[in-house]
């Protein structure tokens, strides 16, 4: 660990005895947290451990029921988001709210734009400062670009620039690398080093251990809303942290079982789209897990969404169980036995505002109804069956899906599709941003499904997951299939080379 500045030994921000309850749930129970200047503190815990709640308390969105917040030696309260911002606490969220119709500069300075004469926004100065901020984090973006024209990784950089546009003492990074490619992650690490050198205290929330060990100086573990332990990274190892997180030791992370690979189920040939992908062809078999690896923007999700009837391919054909099928709508895909678990759970996955059981039965209503009339007892039976198989944690099946944690929402989406008894299930980043416990449940279940003869496509950007779960891996780059690996050729080096386009050393 590098030498810290003299002030590095006293925390700039301390939380003591923080508790927060919601109807029916005690989200935080007397937790503590210390953040030191010039150091990165990793907050570690499964989903539901209380990480998101503590972030919302630190940013003034929630008020703690009890406990104290001390910043720079002063006891403070954050009754509003503005108060937290004024105290120098800023956050880069998991899903940062940005404004599609505004420019990059306007997004960065919304709420505190530099003013000129008559109190009007000084656009010139704002854009100049935005350009300076973007340059300081190595982002090659025009301040004048409209946000809706940017990709997800660029949006993230805008969010980071926005967080830095206020003079922050404490920077909270909530899963900052979840949507980034390899190159961008390395740029983010450099950015974190820059912030450390500036003496900012950083709270870093991540599920990825390699990341935590790469950049964090200290760690704090929460479990089930309680503070468990904290310390420095130098004095801990991965196994110990996992043990503290889950309260038990996790021995096997990837429970891939060997399965009987059977007849071809889905054959895709020459699938093309005017802008997203070109000449995609592959065959998927019964009982097989086919991994799709690639950098963000390689066109993997777009291919999957075309197979699911969201977008139309301009050319190409697909054959399901020997029959040529034209899939124009999602309803036709479901009828043909192809289902898709999307990456964007919040918008495309679960119907928030509706109860769990209604989410599960939504594509199966023709089975749980008679002559179009709903039969609640059958709906509950179907929902109970599939949610319990996935080990869903919920208060009741009548609970709003929006109140569940990310991992449990994902289980509801998967349960919804399994209830349709599909032939092919496509999982797009199935474990992105979900806790280790839920992750293991999803992996376990995928493995079981394949063993039962279901054909599984898994799109994933996490190499250990792709290698651990897949029978075969297809790597995509710039909308095309770059390579395919099986057996001993499935190595991290091969996957990364194919994904970034480095040819085998001659």
């Amino acid at each position: 660990m590098q030498a810290q500045s003299a002030s590095g030994t006293t925390p700039v921000l301390s939380l003591r005895g923080i508790s927060k309850s919601f109807p029916g749930v005690r989200a935080l129970n007397g937790v503590q947290l210390d953040l030191y200047p010039g150091q990165v503190t990793a907050l570690i815990g499964e989903n539901g451990a209380g990480k998101s709640t503590i972030v919302k308390i630190l940013t003034g969105i929630y008020q703690p029921d009890e406990g104290t917040i001390t910043v720079g030696g002063q006891d403070l309260r954050f009754p509003t988001a503005q108060a937290a911002s004024d105290a120098g606490v800023t956050a880069i969220h998991q899903e940062t709210v940005l404004f599609d119709e505004l420019t990059v500069a306007e997004n960065i300075f919304i709420g505190h734009a530099p003013r000129g004469r008559f109190g009007l926004i000084d656009t010139r100065r704002m854009e100049a400062e935005a350009a300076r901020l973007l340059a300081s984090i190595g982002a090659d973006l025009s301040p004048k670009a409209r946000l809706r024209d940017l990709g997800i990784a660029s949006r993230h950089l805008v969010a980071i620039a926005r967080a830095l546009s206020v003079d922050a003492r404490v920077v909270i990074m909530d899963e900052p690398t979840a949507a980034l490619s390899h190159k961008e992650i390395h740029e983010l690490y450099e950015l974190v080093e820059t912030l450390k050198a500036q003496g900012k205290a950083i709270l870093f929330i991540s599920h990825k251990f390699d990341e935590i060990f790469r950049i964090a100086d200290r760690w704090t573990v929460f479990r089930d809303g309680q503070f468990i332990e904290d310390g420095t990274m130098a004095e801990v190892n991965e196994a110990r942290l996992v043990q503290l997180m889950v309260g038990r030791s996790v021995d096997q992370i990837y429970p891939k079982r060997p399965s009987q690979i059977g007849k071809p189920v889905l054959t895709v040939a020459g699938y093309s789209h005017p802008t997203e992908f070109e000449d995609i062809g592959f065959t998927l078999h019964e009982g097989e897990i086919l991994g799709f690896y690639g950098l963000v923007g390689a066109g993997r999700s777009e291919v999957m969404q075309a197979l699911f009837g969201i977008t139309k391919p301009s050319r190409g054909a697909c054959r399901i169980a020997g029959q040529v099928q034209v899939i124009r709508t999602t309803a036709e895909a479901v009828e043909a036995g192809i289902v898709y678990v999307p990456e964007d759970r919040g918008r495309q996955g679960a119907v928030k505002g509706m109860p769990i059981f209604q989410n599960v039965t939504l594509p199966s209503l023709h089975r749980t109804s008679r002559a179009g009339f709903l039969r609640l007892s059958e709906e509950f039976a179907l929902a109970r069956d599939y949610t319990q198989r996935l080990d869903l944690r919920a208060a009741s099946l009548d609970q709003d899906v929006g109140l569940l944690s990310g991992g449990n929402q994902q289980k509801v989406v998967i349960a919804k599709w399994l209830a349709t008894r599909p032939r092919v299930i496509i999982l797009d980043e199935p474990t992105k941003g979900i806790d280790i416990g839920s992750k293991a449940a999803v992996h376990d279940f995928m493995s079981e499904l394949a063993a039962q003869g279901l054909a599984v496509i898994m799109v994933s950007s996490e190499i250990p997951e792709v290698l651990g779960m897949s029978d075969r891996v297809i790597v995509m780059r710039e909308g095309r299939i770059a390579a395919e690996f099986a057996g001993d050729d499935m190595t991290p080096e091969n996957l990364v080379r194919a994904a970034v386009g480095i040819e085998e050393a001659a």
Partner: protein
Amino acid sequence: MSTPTPRQIPDRLASPLARRLKSWEALLLAVAIAIFIANSIASPYFLDPWNLSDASFNFTEKAMIAFAMAMLIIAGDIDLSVASIIALCSTVMGVAMMAGAPVWVLVGLGLGTGLLCGAFNGLLVAGMGLPSIVVTIGTMSLFRGISYIVLGDGAFTGYPSDFSWFGQGYVWWVFSVELALFAALAVMFGLLLHGTSFGRTVYAIGNNATAARFSGIRVDRVRFILFLLTGVMSGLAAVCLTSRLGSTRPSIATGFELEVVTMVVLGGVNILGGSGSIPGVVIAALVMGLVTFGLGLLNVPGIVMSIIVGLLLIGVIALPRLWAMWRK
């Protein structure tokens, strides 16, 4: 978080009855009863069955449209052209009547024109992906505009006496044909929205149309059907209203669309879509009917009445929020 065996998840925590007692509909029903009692104290003529029966014409035609509109709004759309659809349907019926068409043809044309108008709206909204509020503001002018071109300052009068059954006839004692239609449609729409898989998809679309599409629902087809349904119900309202008035003027049913939307929102339907119920709309129709009738008995002028209906809407909507603020 460490039990490996799947645990039992209960179906429900609160019983459906307990939830119903705390619902918006229950609050609205209490308001309806209060207005009923206040009216019967304020005016000695109020409790007369025939007066009450007459009063029901204040809401029956609007409520027919409100049932379909409730489903449309729950799905996240809106149709502001309903009153203009009535005008166009009535005009088409008038033209046919002048040509000597029999009653069943008039009714068929009324409903058919409504269906076509709904299909036109639906095609533009669900087929082409245009925003429903803009499309139906456009067709609101378009449909009534056609009526004005056909009729100018004139009016169609002289509908056959058989035709008057729809708006002036009685099924039994004080129960009018319109009231019977209102009751039957309330049951039908209640079943459609709350008891069928079609109704369930309406809620799913209103809560999150993208996720509904990603769940294999034919979102645009459902939205199109809802516009058809709203069109047909407007056609039915046109048959009843034309029959009751015995004439067609291009200004027929002016302002109905706002009263229909008021009824729907008062009934607890979220104007942003996703939630609401038919029982709520039924009670809201009764509330609005009772208020207008009660004020009419007290000789309150029409303009004051519309002010009171507006205040009632804002009041009932604001009440739960004020209650929550006061308790804080």
